[in-house]
């Protein structure tokens, strides 16, 4: 289910670049904020798309895993003075372990049970994680403040923060890493095969169960990686990651199932849309309407086109 870049994608890129240039002249801040936020949405959405594309499971606990990563980073910072950037490795590994454990204890047992059971079990996991965090840390927000995360620079008279460009770098790095993994490694090719046809992959001797386990663990590890880089810029509270589940799903649906490149493009496109709406006085309340409105439009257009074929 993992598709390569197509002509349509190049057309989309061209349109996106033109739109970005126009917006850049009209409201350069909106363009900058859009690219930054859109990249963050993309890096969080990529692992959700991977799980959905390979395992066929829509993980409703996606955002809660992000929250777990944030709290892990916070604990390392507040208890041991570990800078979030240094926490990257331990938190990513920790989340990989958490992902593997959750998969073995729960997801593995509902893979053949139908989508409703999968949705319900991941929804249950999200509630359990959220309530556990509440019982330990209460609902009071925590924070990890670092001066470098709010550093800014001025370019051509435009002052903007620089830290969030890290999101773009990470999104590109994760995307390239995933593509290389899927195309250049045996396990990656096996993963690709399982995503295309699990039964066929099993017949040719691929250990499908291990691939599922690996993909789930890897995906949650990527979520952990994203959480570490978010922590210096956000408040940490039990529901901090929750909204990203739906945004990630929206990006995955907009890009098309299995289209990892498309997720980055869709993320940046929707990020820019959102930033443009926010830049209009009184527009803030409309950003989600635009975000999900664009999603509905894209899905409907695609469905209508496919219906004509």
């Amino acid at each position: 289910m993992l598709a390569a870049a197509s002509k349509k994608q190049y057309l989309f890129i061209a349109l996106l670049v033109i739109a970005a240039i126009v917006i850049g002249f009209w409201e350069p801040h909106a363009l900058i904020y859009g690219i930054q936020r859109g990249s963050l949405y993309a890096v969080i959405a990529l692992p959700l798309a991977l799980i959905l594309g390979i395992l066929g499971v829509l993980n409703l606990a996606h955002g809660e895993f992000l929250t777990v990563g944030m709290y892990a980073t916070f604990v390392l910072f507040s208890r041991f003075g570990v800078d979030p950037m240094v926490s990257t490795v331990p938190v990513t590994l920790l989340l990989a372990v958490v992902g593997v454990a959750v998969y073995l204890l729960t997801i593995k047992h509902v893979l053949k049970a139908g989508h409703l059971s999968q949705l319900l079990i991941t929804f249950g996991i999200s509630l359990v994680i959220s309530e556990l965090i509440k019982s330990i840390y209460t609902t009071q927000p925590r924070g990890v403040f670092t001066t470098y995360s709010y550093s800014s620079t001025t370019l051509a008279g435009i002052r903007f923060g620089t830290y969030e460009f890290l999101y773009l770098l990470i999104a590109v790095a994760v995307l390239v890493g995933l593509q290389l993994f899927l195309k250049k490694t045996r396990l990656g090719q096996a993963t690709f095969a399982v995503g295309q046809n699990p039964r066929g992959a099993s017949i040719v001797g691929i250990n499908v169960s291990f691939v599922y386990l690996f993909v789930f663990g890897l995906s949650i590890a990527i979520v952990g990686l994203a959480s570490v880089f978010m922590v210096p810029r956000v408040s940490i509270f039990p529901g901090a990651g929750t909204p990203y589940t739906m945004k990630s799903f929206a990006l995955t649906a907009m890009a098309g199932l299995g289209n990892l490149n498309g997720i980055l493009l869709a993320g940046i496109a929707l990020g820019i849309f959102e930033a443009v709406v926010n830049a209009i006085p009184g527009g803030s309340g409309w950003s989600d309407v635009v975000f999900f409105g664009v999603l509905i439009l894209v899905i409907m257009t695609r469905a209508i086109r496919e219906g004509r074929r």
Partner: protein, 411 residues
């Protein structure tokens, strides 16, 4: 036979005596409904426990111990409403106390009206609650200032500060408000105040010349990017920048302002609560906030100092929200009224609640007066506080000030 009869009589007398002692020791039950999963409700409950402990150690009320029964409303209206029913019918409480959120309390109003027990409610600031309660509930006492009273008190505070410090102005105010009910209500309230100020009337009549606002999506609701809104505020160039959002917005808001180079002379946050250890964050210095209490009050108020020390001694952590001293006040105020009434008879206790004055650790004297609709309103104003060197200080009202204002904001 005679011996048995005598023994029986003695036993009967002993049993009657014991039963009368046990009746005398029957506790007076205070039924509280607090959100225990939230720090406000958690610390309120701990503070209420402290108050009950002190009352019982001093001999109780009317010779009877006080029992506190707490039900968690989970910040959900339907659970909060059911909690009132449970406390009234299962636990048979004598009084209702506690409470935080307006949404939960609105759902509790019908149940409270059904039982008409004396209720001393400490939270729920929305005027919608006052409208729902109506003017006839003489058994209902509300301690927290209503939202409109808070707005008026801030205006009074800034006017007093501007009069005392001519270099400080608040003639251009920009309100950043979260796009939910809380923020939007705040914005509408400020619009009304601005309209009145144009005619030189209302609490901002002497100081406000220009007002603007912009909404943002709170981090609590999936937002957290305030840069577009902050740029609108920068363009307006306010003397006083206020944001009305939630605790999750506090650090990113001030940090993103720093990133943009936005440093208004007065930077005010008006969330219902603040993040843990916000004062430890270097960005907090100079941030102004509205609240009913600050830990520094212990330096100027004996009762605040007593509350602070005893709370820490009993629970091992510091009170971090004004709901803690407000919860203590909630219980103590009711206890003082029962003592003054000398009975649990409803009319007598209501009368006592209306006449006593209680020096509260909040840093104000609690006295009941009518508000716009209800006849039994407690506190009527908030305080203006400021984070200075990591600690919250009272800068207004001046009689409770623990520090001079740090002006202008910026680093």
């Amino acid at each position: 036979m005679k011996k048995i009869s005598l023994a029986s009589v003695l036993l009967l007398i002993a049993a009657l005596m014991l039963s009368s002692v046990s009746l005398a020791a029957e506790p007076i039950k205070f039924g509280a409904v607090n959100p225990l999963g939230d720090i406000t409700g958690f610390q309120t409950t701990r503070a209420m426990e402290l108050a009950v402990k002190e009352i019982n150690e001093a001999g109780g009320l009317l010779g009877r111990p006080v029992e506190l029964i707490v039900v968690d409303d989970e910040m959900r209206p339907e659970i909060g409403a059911a909690a009132i029913d449970r406390l009234a019918t299962v636990d048979n409480v004598d009084f209702f106390v506690g409470g935080m959120g307006s949404g939960v309390h609105l759902a509790q109003v019908p149940a409270l009206k059904k039982y008409e027990k004396i209720t001393v409610w400490m939270g729920a600031a929305s005027h919608q609650v006052e409208i729902a309660m109506g003017p006839d509930a003489d058994w209902y006492f509300h301690l927290h200032p209503w939202d409109y009273q808070q707005g008026a008190s801030y205006g009074q505070g800034w006017t007093d500060i501007a009069n005392a410090h001519p270099e400080i102005g608040a003639s251009r105010i920009f309100l950043a408000y979260e796009e939910g009910a809380f923020g939007t209500d705040s914005y509408l309230a400020y619009l009304d105040l601005y309209e009145a100020a144009k005619d030189g009337e209302g609490p901002y009549g002497q100081i406000l010349n220009d007002f603007a606002g912009a909404s943002f999506t709170s981090a609590l609701l999936g937002g957290g990017d305030y840069r577009a809104m902050l740029r609108q505020a920068m363009d307006f160039d306010p003397d006083l920048f206020i944001w009305a959002g939630y605790d999750a917005d506090a650090v990113p808001m001030v940090a993103q302002a720093m990133e943009l180079g936005f440093e208004p002379p007065l930077f005010v946050g008006a969330p219902p609560g603040w993040p843990a250890n916000f004062g430890d964050n270097p960005l907090s210095d100079g941030v102004i906030l509205y609240g009913m209490w600050a830990p520094a009050l212990k330096e100027v108020s004996e009762i605040s100092n007593h509350f602070w020390n005893e709370y820490i001694k009993m629970h091992g952590h510091e009170p971090a929200t004004y709901f803690a001293p407000l919860g203590y006040t909630n219980i103590m105020f009711l206890a003082e009224a029962i003592k003054a009434a000398g009975t649990l008879e409803k009319d007598a206790v209501i009368e006592a609640l209306r006449t006593i004055e209680y020096e509260s650790p909040i840093g104000a004297v609690l006295k009941i007066e009518p508000s716009n609709i209800i006849s039994n309103q407690g506190f009527t104003s908030q305080k203006i506080l400021q984070y200075i060197d990591g600690e919250q200080h009272v800068i207004w009202p001046f009689e409770y000030a623990t520090s001079e204002i740090k002006y202008p904001f910026g680093r």
